[in-house]
Amino acid sequence: MDLSSLMFYLLAFMAVFFGYFTIAVANPIFSALNLALTMITLAGIFFLLDAYFIAGVQLAVYAGAVMVLFVMVLMLFDLSGEVRAFSRGLMSGIVKVGSALLVMLLILLSVLGYYGERLEIGAPPSTAEVVQPTTQDLAILLFSRYLFAFELLGLLLLVVAVGVVAVSRIKGGTHARD
């Protein structure tokens, strides 16, 4: 076992561990902190996959901005009133977890079936001779072939910014009880 696979198994274990506690911890703040840790470990896995720029952006945008926002909002709320963290009902719970497990099973079967035929599981594909693309290629692709989508995203962000300001300044709203 070489260093990179050791790193991968360590990071994968940590990601699953923190991911599990994201949904299992009753206190939403601990949920958010666990999710932030999951994202940091995923950034580590992106580093292993030579996607350096994506890893850096994952750290800066997801772990550094989006999750900080979540934690901040949760800290602003008074959470002492929240007792039940999970939906009630044993049967519905079983159905929900069962359906999620079914989805995972389908994904796993398709992955293992497809790559079992093509790559012979266990033997990692040799990628040494393939030239890995660089950040520059990413930028060139982003600003040539996907320029329209990129501009559309800018528009989306603008709309979202305006919408968020409008929502947070709202006075009346639904069920106005005055």
Partner: protein, 386 residues
């Protein structure tokens, strides 16, 4: 990491050494801060313990270590203890990614009865191709330390301080990121070492497709990006939560902000984190705008040749070159650290709305304008017009 056991262990030791370097600089900086503030305010400052009060740091350390271990009754114990550690990590990880000096070439030598091949040791913790994005990403994680401390210690002043701090950091990260884009466009790289390598010799640039050189100025980024440098300096003041942007710990309003409940060694770790951030910020300023570790007009090869002509072996010459350049880097860093101290004891604190206005309505538009104008000028200057 490396090919054989010696290289791997040296690379590992390097990371630890750079972390220790960062930690050890903190007492010195505290001394500079206290003596500097005394100088500015026309008093003496600590001068009793040792010459010029230098061993005051030792006395402080002993005092911090022997303080009572205090945990607020209703706090979240785990978060309360985790926060100071989290405060320490981002600065250390980010500082490791910045090149502190020229790489050291080690010739092949014989030791313990076997050959050890020629090595090249970089004078930094680890080289990451996208160093700048990495440093930005890691230092943005520093907000968690403040949030954990503020929420974990179950104190309204701590929580208010933490919320202010994280809002401030998120706001100024935008301006910080955008002010760097200009320098990225000019040097065409994300890597610190390549950026530093391009800043040697006299000021050289492309003027409408012709290479032009101005002999009496060093080839530093500040001459290409003066506005970017000023914006970056202002943004890192906000990122490090120092005066004039130290709203999170405004003592008149919030007692001591997010570290109200902390004392002793835990408090000290927050200090180390803050000074570590100052160190990273100064190193970034030097690397982007002031030629990194280079001495103006002298290339590392010339220094190396000088040492070789003095009768040193190649390995020793390379080592001495790296040390000389490292001293040059630290001289530059110390200037910026002094600016941090100087500004802290000169400017008054902003109000919170003034802070947000400055960040969103002044610095962000200027940084955007800087990016666009730099892009246009770079495009015009690189293409030949004949």
């Amino acid at each position: 990491m490396g090919t054989d056991i010696l290289e791997v262990s040296i690379n590992f030791a390097k990371m630890v050494a750079i972390f220790l370097l960062m930690v050890q600089l903190v007492p010195l900086l505290v001394w500079v801060e206290r003596r500097g503030s005394a100088l500015i305010q026309n008093r003496l400052g600590p001068n009793r313990v040792g010459p010029l009060g230098l061993t005051q740091l030792l006395a402080d350390a002993v005092k911090f270590l022997t303080k009572e271990e205090f945990v607020p009754a209703k706090s979240h114990r785990f978060l309360f203890y985790a926060a100071p550690v989290v405060a320490l990590l981002p600065a250390a990880v980010a500082f490791n990614a910045i090149p502190l000096s020229h790489p050291i070439q080690v010739e092949a030598f014989e030791w313990l009865g076997r050959e050890w091949g020629p090595y090249t040791f970089l004078f930094q913790g680890y080289e990451i191709g996208i160093g700048i994005v990495f440093v930005l990403g890691v230092s943005s994680l520093a907000a968690y330390a403040l949030l954990l401390a503020g929420w974990g210690s179950d104190n309204k002043y701590s929580l208010l301080g933490a919320l202010r701090a994280s809002a401030q950091m998120i706001s100024y990260e935008l301006a910080l990121g955008l002010s760097i884009v200009g320098i990225l466009l000019i040097y065409n790289t994300f890597s610190f070492s390549e950026m530093v390598a391009q800043q040697t010799g006299p000021l050289t640039f492309m003027f409408f497709g012709q290479e032009t050189s101005i002999g009496f100025l060093p080839n530093w980024g500040i001459f290409f990006q003066p506005l970017g440098a000023i914006l970056l300096l202002a943004a890192v003041f906000a990122e490090t939560n120092r005066l004039p942007f130290d709203l999170p710990e405004a003592e008149a309003e919030l007692v001591a902000g997010y570290h109200t409940e902390y004392g002793g060694i835990k408090m000290n770790m927050f200090y180390i984190g803050e000074y570590g951030h100052m160190l990273v910020a100064s190193a970034l300023m030097v690397t982007f705008y002031f030629g990194g570790y280079h001495i103006p007009f002298i290339t590392p090869e010339q220094i190396n040749e000088f040492f070789v002509s003095q009768g040193q072996g190649l390995t020793q010459a390379s080592l001495l070159t790296a040390l000389v350049l490292h001293l040059s880097f630290f001289a530059k860093i110390l200037v910026f650290l002094w600016i941090f101290v100087w500004v802290r004891w000169t400017l008054p604190r902003f109000r919170y709305d003034q802070l947000m206005n400055l960040g969103w309505k002044t610095m962000l538009p200027w940084a955007l304008a800087n990016t666009v104008i730099t892009a246009i000028i770079v495009l015009m200057m690189r293409s030949s017009w004949s």
